[in-house]
Amino acid sequence: MAALLTATCSDYSPEMVTTNIDMVADEAAWIRQAQRSDARAFEALYRMHVDKVYGLCLRMTGNVSEAEDCAQDAFIQAWNKLGKFRGDSAFATWLHRIAVNTVLGRIRKSKREQDRIQAVSDAATLSFIKDDAGELRDLSDAVNRLPSGARHVFVLHAVYGYSHDETGTMLGIAEGTSKAQFHRARRLLRQQLDDQGFEA
């Protein structure tokens, strides 16, 4: 571990990167190296944060292949914008913002969101996130069936803990709109779960 923290990024082998991502890493050093176009350092950052970014993309899109594309695009955009990262916020938060923008941008450009909604509505049950279990999986599926506006707000506010102010900023909507969408999401989710016979 000490070697990992003191070595330069160019000393890392891919094996080191993949085997040490769950350890405490010198994120700031990797960021500095990546800002100087060190792709290996950026790979280390990717491996450290991919689960967070992909998780957000999957929650927001509700579609595995779309989430994979979004996560890839988000990291490519992060690479392009890395020079502007000044550490005013946590790197993970900065990545989250890029991921949200990527998701929204792709939805605007594509009609696949409509296809996704149709596909989801046609499916009786869709347990696409295997990490959730029991009532969490049922809620996860219900969230995935929400209309996109309500789903995005619910995911960012209720699942990821962003305030309505932050959620509104990330989604480009007013704070009040975020609150309204959140109440709409709660109501729709309760109706869905009640219909499935869930008890309080």
Partner: protein, 179 residues
């Protein structure tokens, strides 16, 4: 499930999910290209504005004058002194101050650019200033031509806009009401 419990449960949903496949190869391929230069969109916008103004001014000039005029050497220093045509559209001192300040800032910013980028910016500005000059020439003969007056104002605004974008300035720039 009541709504409070629902929200409470939602906060326990997994936030970190591992993708089913390694996404890095696609990312590695995507980042092989050189980092995008932030100047590129600015140049694209400036070029589009200049082309629009140039084409619009040319059509207006030809329409109004009805015949080709000799090519005249552009003298940017005199631009603002020559804009007193049309009593309702004189340029105020504040506008001229703002333009002079932006022009000064432009020199500083231009010095930071590569020779190619600097030449591109200078070409664009020369183009728009030439359009301004030609509209002024037309206005000299028809000072009350509303179309020309409108084109002139638009051209000045666009020049300021280009200057501001090139300089990356954030200060407020004179708008139409300041003219």
């Amino acid at each position: 499930m009541n709504e409070d419990k629902l929200v409470s449960t939602a906060s326990r949903l997994t936030t970190e999910i591992a993708p089913e496949r390694d996404l890095w190869p696609g990312i590695a391929e995507g980042i092989q290209a050189p980092r995008r230069q932030s100047w590129a969109p600015v140049f694209a916008q400036a070029a589009a504005i200049v082309l629009l103004i140039g084409a619009s001014s040319a059509v207006t000039y030809v329409t109004v004058k009805g015949q080709q005029q000799p090519v005249t050497q552009v003298t940017p220093e005199l631009m603002f002194e020559q804009t007193s045509f049309g009593g309702r559209y004189n340029l105020g001192p504040d506008f001229q101050d703002a333009r002079a300040e932006l022009a000064t800032q432009l020199d500083v910013e231009l010095a930071k650019l590569s020779p190619e980028s600097r030449a591109e910016v200078e070409d664009n500005l020369e183009f728009v200033q030439k359009a301004i000059y030609e509209i002024n020439q037309a206005l000299a003969e028809e000072p009350n031509n509303a179309l020309l007056q409108s084109k002139l104002l638009m051209a000045y605004r666009e020049e300021l806009s280009v200057l501001r974008r090139v300089g990356g300035l954030t200060r407020n720039v004179m708008m139409r009401n300041d003219i």
